[in-house]
Symmetry: C2
Subunit: 436 residues, 2 copies
């Protein structure tokens, strides 16, 4: 019978190169499942152990995961990945989970990278691609952070976590927590997509709504974390969610054959996706798997909530709290991100940019992508396509450049935003045929 791992392809069962913990590697040395080394502060010089639960650095900044790249170089080559299962765990050496048994998986990752020829033609970008995170457990890219974050939390003995969310992260962490038999307390704005409430509740999480924004939810969670000694799974307040998000960057590089596209556009709320992709690119460069030229990273925000865009335009290293924020792209309604300086740094280091899109533009783009390409993308993803269109129009994206638009989730999760009037027939009626 089948082996006991979650499987997405049967590759490891039919004579492939899947490398298990403790098996001999190429140099005759034992392979590690993970080459995690330590945690380091993103702002100061402090280092921390990965053997205990960690939250923020003493200085208040996010911690990031370091790996033993020299060891990885000797043990792992890109070709070794061929035939591994089509999930983000194919990159386990570059992920923080040290024992395979701690993996909590619903089969997430290795989402499609699709060419978008008709949308591309429409906006004058011949080499337009979409990385589609709509086809992942829970229907959004949040599953990546939840899978790796929950797996590492399990490894560290966490029993109960808490987090604020704009909906989809809370849904993902609730469901993965359920799979790990871990308790989750979630706080989300009343305006978050209703379906995400239901995902939390059916997963058995303890859910609260707040009559406010994600920043208000964050304050409530902060208080509860201290009062009840919970594991704080807020964006960038634990160091492992970003490692899950990082896999989007790893996958894009692998899917492009260890070359990279010229531009990657990402919808930016808390910014972890973009920071993660940047971290992936730096790590792949360190390993020598990609060259010196990195893609230009673009942070896409909504005009109703554009603190990163404002800071970038003003050449500031940090953003300011965006008052009275509002957008239909609810996932990027984040008035102040803890990792804003990391997003701005990633944009600056890659010669990228930040751009804000109006709700009208993104809603129109969502429709276009569906009719031109058959992809029902989320509003945040639609903002990215609208941004690509504008950046091509103003010449920032140049002729012939390859462009990856990140669609962060399925449009199905936001279908309440759409209305449609459809004719109703009686069973004995015929179709009033409209010539196409």
């Amino acid at each position: 019978m089948a082996n006991k791992k979650n499987m997405k392809t049967g590759a490891e069962l039919v004579g492939n190169e899947y490398i298990l913990n403790g098996q001999p590697g190429k140099g005759g040395k034992e392979m590690s499942f993970s080459y995690i080394s330590h945690l380091y502060c993103s702002a100061c010089e402090r280092k921390y152990s990965t053997k205990e639960k960690q939250q923020l650095c003493e200085c208040g900044s996010p911690l990031l995961v370091a790996y033993e790249f020299d060891e990885i170089k000797g043990q792992l080559k890109p070709g070794d990945l061929v035939g591994r299962e089509a999930s983000l765990w194919r990159y386990h050496e570059l992920l923080p989970v040290e024992e395979e048994k701690n993996i909590v998986s619903l089969g997430e990752g290795m989402t499609p990278l699709l060419r978008m020829p008709r949308a591309g033609q429409d906006m004058g970008i011949e080499n337009l691609y979409m990385k589609d995170e709509g086809t992942i457990p829970t229907g959004t890219f949040k599953a990546r952070g939840a899978a790796v974050g929950i797996s590492k939390a399990k490894e560290l003995g966490v029993r109960h976590l808490a987090m604020p969310t704009n909906g989809n992260a809370g849904a993902a962490w609730s469901l993965y927590a359920a799979r790990a038999n871990m308790k989750a307390t979630i706080v989300m704005p009343v305006d978050a997509p209703v379906v995400t409430r239901k995902e939390c509740v059916i997963a058995g999480a303890e859910l609260y709504l707040v009559d406010g924004l994600i920043s208000d939810a964050g304050k409530i969670v902060s208080k509860a974390v201290k009062e009840f000694n919970l594991y704080d799974a807020s964006t960038l307040k634990e160091p492992y969610r970003i490692e899950g998000k990082k896999t989007m960057g790893l996958e894009i590089a692998e899917q492009f054959g260890w070359k990279v596209p010229d531009v990657i556009l990402y919808p930016t709320g808390g910014g972890v996706g973009l920071i993660g992709i940047y971290k992936a690119l730096i790590e792949l460069h360190t390993l020598g798997w990609i060259g010196d030229e990195l893609p230009r990273l673009v942070a896409v925000q909504a005009e109703g909530c554009a603190p990163i865009v404002k800071a970038w335009n003003q050449k500031k290293p940090y953003s300011e709290f965006w008052e009275s924020s509002s957008t239909v792209a609810f996932g990027i309604n984040v008035p102040k991100a803890l990792g804003d300086f990391l997003v701005l740094d990633a944009i600056n280091k890659t010669d990228g940019c930040a751009i804000a899109i109006s709700d009208e533009e993104l809603v129109a783009e969502q429709q276009k992508v569906a009719t031109q390409e058959g992809a029902f993308i989320c509003p945040e993803g639609a903002a990215v396509f609208a941004a690509a269109r504008q950046l091509r129009e103003n010449g920032w994206i140049k002729d012939g450049e390859s462009v990856v638009a990140l669609n962060t989730g399925s449009g199905v999760k936001y279908s309440d935003l759409l209305s449609c009037a459809v004719p109703i027939l009686q069973p004995d009626e015929g179709l009033p045929f409209r010539q196409g």
Copy 2:
């Protein structure tokens, strides 16, 4: 830059064994992309060409696709699949599309096969697996039929198709038709999930609702097909949708390392999924890739619409129209399936069975699977888990047997069925901590 194919893994870019159309195969002979041979009637002896559009056989029965298995045997071995892209197109030799350029893909297939240890323990099935079709474009298994059906329709020059649907098939075919730049006319019951309407409309399909059941929608489509000379994409009225569904069976076999589980349970409305899985198993057996012992196939229906179960209990080869059908598992509200005799045949030939589940049971099971495994499954999938529980209780599933439950879609698409009351806090409030 990357090659021009849709990519799910970069495997073909980094020196794998992906076999392209026209490349030399193992025997020195040119490999074909598809080994399609002809169409044959599922009921009489007639054969048809695959070079032209075909609908039903003259005798009124569905047509099925035959392949050149002897040629495949000489050219392709299971190991050749390792490293191919993680989509259903990895099995292109066993699919009907003859030219790769005609593939219309959103990255569908190779969905996760997950172990369900806690749900399994709860129902006494140690080796319980879920094949999760929630993580596929459009959120349901219908994407498989649409991808292969639309691709072949494109190859055959179809410009405009029509189909009745309980919602999800119409959504999938609308979106894939959009990607193929093909026109779609869809008719669905007013009671079908509202989100599926929106998918059809945003894709640009021509949508009508009918104040009735899918059988009423089918009559309207039949009339329109004749009147306006459309391609009839109704269940089993074109021969290629089933080839897409078949890939679920191919994937299960590959994911089990070319062994097969003891039991596969499938939610059965039109029955194409189950017929497709059976066809896959027979083809793999013909190729010698799996042994003589096939999994016992179980058709799971709702108590409010169980024509196949009734026919099976009465040992009849065909079902009768189920009057006043009703169930929350809307996808399996099909009062009379054109392929009922093929479903019954598959069950009988594999020593399987048919079983009906009440709405109360399946709703309770949906909740259990979410809290025990973190998987938010659809009502039809929940019926399958409820069926596994009952069949284990009554001893039909034996101790130690391996069981695959097919979850045909994401629970997100049916979240309107769930209600939840959640406490609302003001921004300055704290959490009223409930001890877990």
